[in-house]
């Protein structure tokens, strides 16, 4: 572990007698890990916390997470990820390095990024999975925060996620938002929306049938309102992705949660649990 990071987390999970336990919970600097939250029953469930309330200019954060074979864990950030102003133009960076063994399940609910005026940020997530494993991953970005209440006052934010299955690239998911160069309210950018959310499910069984079920679940749900636009599509192999553009962070959040709940409870038959946490 390295002093150059403003905050570090290392979480390792291993299987013991058919149950998943956290074998390493290391943190340093501005990063904290909560105690195990009992909400999810036998599944370890942790909040990943930034004690500074947000990241400041030029800071570099690292999260290293590993799941041994046959483990299941749930991780989430405690709050949206605030990126403070970068007046000097230096990038703020967060790296997530995730390795997932065979026949595991990782639920990794990253909250939306909220960049302040002038913020610059890169989030690099690399997830390496082995066969039989599943992943639920969320992410997002908003129109940001600025003292005068104007939207999209940040400079540039890139959220890049690369997911590999048995060494083969499954998905290179790279959202690049650059209000400094582009007009965000135009056709093809954010248009009328103020919040973008993404959810990715990696599952070898993902195909036309699963897509159809996930589509019909959102078609009829009460969260499908005029304030959200969404769509989903299949990845080249073993995955489905949901994208949402919402006029407010809450409506789009609820829609994503409904989608994930359907997958967890109706498709996977996992036990219900409440993710949170105050919003």
């Amino acid at each position: 572990m390295n002093q150059r990071y403003a905050g570090e987390i290392r979480l390792d999970f291993t299987e013991r007698n058919g149950r998943t336990v956290a074998s390493t919970t290391y943190r340093r600097g501005n990063s904290r890990i909560s105690a195990n939250i009992a909400e999810a029953g036998e599944i370890p469930y942790y909040f990943l916390i930034s004690t500074g309330g947000g990241f400041t200019e030029g800071e570099h954060y690292l999260q290293e997470i590993s799941l041994g074979d046959r483990t299941h864990a749930i991780l989430t950030t405690q709050t949206p990820n605030y990126i403070y102003k970068c007046e000097g133009g230096r990038l703020t960076v967060q790296d997530h390095l995730v390795t997932i063994g065979e026949n595991c399940a990782l639920e990794y609910y990253i909250d939306e990024t909220i960049p302040y005026a002038q913020a610059r940020f890169r989030q690099n997530t690399e997830i390496r999975m082995e066969k039989g494993s599943r992943l639920i991953l969320t992410d997002g970005i908003t129109s940001g925060w600025s003292p005068d209440g104007e939207s999209f006052q940040y400079r540039d934010v890139g959220l890049k996620t690369r997911i590999y299955m048995e060494g083969e690239l499954l998905f290179n998911d790279f959202l690049l938002v650059n209000p400094e160069e582009e007009e965000m309210r135009t056709i093809g950018c954010f248009e009328e929306a103020s919040c973008y959310r993404s959810a990715v499910i990696i599952d070898e069984a993902a195909g036309a049938d699963m897509l159809e079920k996930l589509r019909s679940c959102l078609q009829t749900c009460p969260e499908n309102t005029d304030s959200v636009r969404f769509g989903m599509s299949l990845l080249e192999h073993g995955g489905v992705v949901l994208r949402v553009l919402g006029k407010d962070p809450e409506g789009s959040y609820d829609l994503v949660q409904t989608w994930i709940r359907y997958y967890r409870e109706q498709i996977m038959k996992w036990k219900h649990f409440e993710l949170r946490k105050n919003r």
Binding site: F174, L175, E181, T186, I187, C189
Partner: protein, 244 residues
């Protein structure tokens, strides 16, 4: 371009040969694909020329720039600098990376279909005279590559002695002219209005070359929310003229 008179004539012929591949009437199925534009038509976000222009310009600033535009530059550079084996390795990696960067299944499928048609037609015209192109066609036929028209075009353009910049501009023009023709059929957009927009996009492509030339593989596949969501939503759209 060479200053010598004879060479100049030769290069002009080769520019024309590349231009033939870039013509919007080159029958490789591009007229079937709107790359999400039709979803904006369906939602009545694009109604006339101004909204189509806005969409097209944003398409170039993000999806083209970080997608097929950057791909052309990466492929040309790989052919310029590398030994043949390394070039092939690079091209296959780019083919995989660009395909896996696209969340919308229809857009991936459309891209593949256009690449397959392009490879067939170039080989019908040029036979087996471009070995790397034959190799790429074999890779796509055998399932070792997905197929991308920007890669196929780059291989062709390089074999004709075009520079990276010429290949970037020509390929960019090719995509724009097709999208404008597709918009003329569907927006509706007048032929003359379409040509004015296309002319302005030529300048945009030239500017984008300057901004894109410094990028490397790490930037490949970056996307913008609205463009991508429209491509995803086209999949379930009720009334459709285009396949993507």
């Amino acid at each position: 371009m060479q200053k010598d008179g004879g060479e100049q004539v030769e290069m002009k012929k080769e520019i024309l040969e590349a231009f033939q591949i870039c013509d919007s009437t080159f029958p490789i199925g591009t007229f079937n694909h709107s790359f999400g534009m039709e979803n904006y038509l369906f939602r009545r976000v694009i109604r006339k020329a101004p909204q189509f222009r806005e969409w097209l310009e944003n398409y170039y600033r993000s999806q083209f720039r970080y997608g097929e535009g950057l791909l052309v530059l990466l492929c040309c550079r790989a052919m310029e600098k590398d030994a043949e084996e390394n070039t092939k390795e690079d091209l296959l990696r780019y083919d995989d990376l660009i395909t896996k960067s696209v969340a919308a299944a229809e857009t991936r499928e459309g891209t593949r279909m256009i690449a397959a048609q392009m490879l067939i037609l170039i080989r019908k015209i040029y036979g087996d005279t471009i070995p790397l192109l034959n190799w790429y066609a074999e890779q796509t036929d055998s399932g070792h590559a997905y197929g991308n028209p920007a890669i196929a075009f780059s291989i062709f353009a390089y074999s004709k002695g075009l520079s990276c910049e010429e290949a970037f501009n020509l390929y960019g023009y090719s995509v724009a002219s097709t999208l404008v023709q597709n918009a003329v059929r569907s927006v509706p957009l007048g032929q003359r209005e379409g040509q004015v927009i296309l002319h302005d996009v030529i300048q945009l492509i030239a500017d984008l070359y300057e901004k894109t030339a410094g990028l490397d593989e790490d930037s490949l596949g970056a996307n913008t929310p609205g463009l991508e969501l429209a491509q995803i939503c086209h999949e379930t759209q009720e009334a459709r003229l285009f396949m993507s």
